[in-house]
């Protein structure tokens, strides 16, 4: 299968991107300045991310759709206000995570943002679960552009008047060149920011305007270091079918009201784990010194017993040191527990720490 290109491909080339294949797409891993500079620019100013490879699934329907989606997602969707967003997951019957996602209530139904590598499988699963009752469009005619960082509100507002009044985790339709674009105040970097759903034909123009206002393109490399510092999970690494939301320490994303009823896919396991505890759980891990412990690094306790594995690990440019996440046996998950990480045959000291590594600066209300 030929790799796909996003509508910003030409712009990426113009900005000297290095490309990698990711989920069937040619995506920019970094630009000329490199991952560390791009990361810092996002934290200090504003970075633009092409995330057009991600799935934008529109599902159209009314009250019946809300009821049907509540059988799938552990969310209180009937009380989700128009243009408000929630983080959630698509689970199997054993509560294994098949994808993590953001779902937004729009006028005609819902917009769900899915991971690129999962989107076609998600669509197949959802079609089956919803018995093809509703119109569903995995819209590949729209690009998804994120702008993240403390200056993103000011810069985007110069191009799309009014976005600065959006609250965190909410969105609305705006206009750009007479095109309807949907913007949410959200992101995945630990910074204030926005995600813009825009027709492919206008994505390049919008992005170039943001660059003209002082923002810069940032690649997937820095996206990974940013999200890891922010303690956010990456599907296929920190989350997969062998992990449940409770094990992933994401129980905050499960509606308490829905747990009390327990009528969604995977709810039996979720309720059992919430009542009885879990054997493994996701934690933050801070290696001592500069050693980087990457995915699949084994974690040992002080008695040299294997107690878990790293699922994401890199160097955090804002932390200025190594950062990691992983799963350990529950009894070793307390903050400040000493552990050892086996890197290239040697054991290196580390400790369990709370997430995020880098404190977020999301905007709660309008400014």
């Amino acid at each position: 299968m030929e790799t796909k290109k996003t509508s910003l491909y030409k712009l990426h080339q113009d900005c000297n991107a290095k490309f990698v294949e990711f989920a069937g797409y040619q995506m920019p891993i970094q630009y000329a300045e490199g991952i560390v500079e791009e990361h810092k620019f996002t934290r200090n100013h504003s970075g633009i991310f092409d995330v057009s490879h991600m799935g934008q699934l529109f599902i159209y329907g009314g009250d019946e759709l809300i009821k049907d989606l509540e059988k799938i997602f552990p969310l209180d969707l009937k009380n989700l206000k128009l243009n408000h967003s929630k983080y959630s997951f698509l689970m199997d019957k054993d509560a294994g995570i098949q994808d993590d996602l953001i779902i937004t209530k729009i006028n005609e139904g819902f917009l769900i943002i899915l991971n690129a590598a999962c989107k076609y499988n998600d669509l197949r699963i959802l079609k089956e679960l919803l018995s093809e009752k509703y119109e569903m469009v995995l819209d590949e005619n729209r690009s998804l552009i994120a702008i993240q960082g403390p200056k993103s509100s000011q810069i985007l507002n110069e191009v799309v008047e009014g976005v600065k009044d959006l609250n965190f985790m909410s969105g609305n339709w705006f206009s750009f060149e007479n095109q309807k674009i949907y913007i949410t105040r959200s992101g995945y970097t630990g910074e204030d920011g926005f995600e813009i759903s825009i027709s492919n034909d206008f994505a390049d123009k919008l992005t170039r305007e943001l660059i003209n206002k002082g923002s810069k393109l940032v690649g997937l490399g820095a996206r990974d270091t940013l999200r890891l510092e922010a303690g956010l999970c990456l599907y296929g690494h920190d989350l997969d079918k062998d992990k449940t939301p409770v094990e992933a320490n994401l129980k905050w994303a499960i509606s308490k009201e829905r747990i009390s009823k327990g009528d969604f896919i995977g709810s039996d396991i979720i309720i059992k784990q919430l009542n009885n505890g879990v054997t493994k759980i996701r934690v933050g891990i801070k290696p001592e010194g500069r050693i980087i412990a990457r995915e699949k690094t084994k974690i040992f306790n002080q008695s040299d017993v294997h107690i878990g594995e790293i699922t994401s690990g890199t160097f955090g440019p804002s932390v200025n040191g190594p950062v990691a996440m992983g799963y350990v046996e529950n009894q070793f998950s307390k903050k400040d527990t000493k552990v050892f990480l086996e890197v290239r045959g040697k054991k290196h000291a580390a400790s369990i720490c709370s997430l995020p590594f880098y404190k977020k600066s999301y905007v709660k209300g309008a400014n």
Binding site: Q30, G34, G221, R290, T314
Partner: protein
């Protein structure tokens, strides 16, 4: 004047008397991206031609550093361990990795000169 030679693993080596200074090339640093971690061989240890003698890591991945010749490690550059970004800034000069007291000068013969290496590096980029 001592000549600088280059290996296919993208190390440079400069021989002065029987002591060789070894580092990684600018081309290697450009391929790796921002270097955020460096591990060097221990002083006093012996390393074998084409064997691993260190590690560099970018934010993305870890890569082994090989030694183009055999010898005893007589010095290592702690500055690049403390601040690995120096490797990106000045790879073929102040950001050297380690110095070896070499055993067999003839091991230098199979290495490339600058022109040959530049050509080789160009070909391996694409």
């Amino acid at each position: 004047m001592s000549e600088v030679k280059y290996s296919k693993e993208h190390e440079w080596i400069k021989l002065e008397g029987d002591v060789a200074t070894i580092g990684i090339t600018k081309h290697a640093t450009e391929m790796l991206g921002d270097i955020v971690f460096a591990e060097l061989p221990e002083k006093g240890s012996n390393v074998e031609k084409d064997g691993t003698a260190g590690v560099v890591e970018s934010t993305k991945a870890a890569s082994d550093v090989y030694t183009p010749v055999s010898g005893e490690v007589v010095d290592t550059n702690q500055e690049i361990v403390d601040d690995p970004s120096k490797i990106n800034q000045d790879p073929e000069n102040s950001a050297w990795f380690f110095k070896l007291k070499i055993k067999d000068k003839s091991e230098m013969d199979s290495l490339m000169n600058k022109d040959d290496y530049d050509k080789f590096a160009k070909e391996t980029t694409t």
